[in-house]
Symmetry: C2
Subunit: 368 residues, 2 copies
Amino acid sequence: MNDASRTSPDSPPLSPSVPPTLQWLGTPHTGYLRLLDQTQLPLQCRFRDCRRVEDVAEAIRSLRVRGAPAIGVAAAYGVVLGLQAVRKAHADAWRSAADAAAERLAATRPTAVNLFWAVDRVRKVAHDAAASPPDERLQRAWHEAKTIEEEDRAMCAAIGRHGRDLMPDRGGVLTHCNAGSLATAGDGTALAVIYAAVAAGKQLHVYVDETRPLLQGARLTAWELLQREIPATLIVDSAAAWVMQEGRVQVIITGADRIAANGDTANKIGTYMLAQLAHTHAIPFYVAAPSSTFDLTRNDGRDIPIERRAAEEVTEGFGRRTAPRDIDVYNPAFDVTPAELIRGIITERGVISPVEPENIRQVIGQSS
Amino acid sequence: MNDASRTSPDSPPLSPSVPPTLQWLGTPHTGYLRLLDQTQLPLQCRFRDCRRVEDVAEAIRSLRVRGAPAIGVAAAYGVVLGLQAVRKAHADAWRSAADAAAERLAATRPTAVNLFWAVDRVRKVAHDAAASPPDERLQRAWHEAKTIEEEDRAMCAAIGRHGRDLMPDRGGVLTHCNAGSLATAGDGTALAVIYAAVAAGKQLHVYVDETRPLLQGARLTAWELLQREIPATLIVDSAAAWVMQEGRVQVIITGADRIAANGDTANKIGTYMLAQLAHTHAIPFYVAAPSSTFDLTRNDGRDIPIERRAAEEVTEGFGRRTAPRDIDVYNPAFDVTPAELIRGIITERGVISPVEPENIRQVIGQSS
């Protein structure tokens, strides 16, 4: 699959016919947010048009859009939809609508911090512009959301550039959940690194954890990699240790939902397992995430709230019941990987390694 | 759940209304093997009646009956069914039929060694009895199968007795796959230890790995534990590390499909993961298995053949497709846990600890 067009480090990123994860259609004043409904993948490419705050909140809550950066962009546009509805209202009502939309969207999922960061950006712009003429203030709020989307795309490209040199020239890369195009407005975070490495001529074989309970690896990452013609093999999550033991994996890379000031990283349940097993098997474990994923108000991972999701995701995740009705289920959506198990965190501003508070402050600073 | 009737160490094992995993119905000459069809659990209790060798082979291959000891007992009766069909044949034809049945059954699954051990026992008796009158030789072959079944039941009880003292008085026990009633003719191996500990008054909470791809934990172990009213919580496999990190697990116990002379243990994919993570979290990891699980002809785990099963178990395991059509899948049914990660192996003859070749030889000897 390494044809000539992909061997130059300067070649553009692969541009497959993958439909956009999200896009704003129409003007700021009458337009709407179109989401690729990820709950239907890989069997169907269906879109979900969101015209109200509640539509976006439902889409985030039910994982039609997921992945920390994509959630952030979708929620930013969600605030814009809330403002559309009060387009001609007085400044106070306009500000209240911005607050209400932001709060509604922030309540959808507790762990990914990009969500709060993105809605706050749009809310602040809306507040600052509240006294401006109706068309102008809506245009400014929309422009902030659009800027977040564009920054996200640029962030993915920068993460790819910073991370590709950390990939081996040839070998196996294990990843978990989906940290690709479908998790961002661009090429992804963890997968952007793989895409950039392949574009630079590296010969990688990706091992994809299926990622129970919702199978983002099997449904989304496998689909993305097939679209881009990158060699990939799907495994059940509990086989990850065995493929490491068999020597099939030279590096592990995942995304992140929130990173504390000391580098402790919340990500999809199973990430902590991989990081511990990587350590045991002397395999480098990397996290790829934008600077907006850092939450410097949390000293360490113990301060990060972990979302618990419904038992039915585990017991009825496939359209039919696969466990006894009365069984108790513990279904944390995320776990926390201690900083010391992470070889490096690849951000759009550069690679943080070793993962230590001082290095994090230097790269992330106060701007997050 | 610890009512008074269960607090005495001398109380009988719990006797819930669990249907038997397998039973021979009728006489040796015209009877048949009835299996609880485990592919239908937990939604339906259906039985599968096997009247021909091929019925048993199909049931083993398709996991209607599974679990190393139960496979052995079913296969032993399978040889009897093969002999029924040549009940009045000459000695040579009778012996050939025994060989053919044994070979057909042995070809169903490559990893669990109890299968080969059990069919060989019945084959040998059939060979020895070939010159006897038809009714007598069939009776003797059947009697050997029945003996294997009864030994299996006694084995489970002995494993429970030997293992219960290794369980904490109170705390979390993690298990993987199903090593209970449904995997044996009796109370199980790993679960027999838990049942015996609970019967002795210990207050255990069982964490059940769902065990992808075929969900034996979610479908079978959760069901067994509910039937016996033992507190249990279902988790996805990749959450096992996190529940260890959270301090919820004080001991881990699994069954085994084959154990090499040095103690390396093949068991359901994911067992190696648990053993490594147990080591990392300083949690004791035990294996419970009958002496018939040892294969002293294999020096270590590298010599144990590992069955690879169909991709569809991973991609279509729930009645509908959950991964893209063209994705490559690696689906080993088992992995191998190195002896040094196992705190002890609980057999019907006693506990082997530390797990070292000399201790194994002493307990298992040449009789396996």
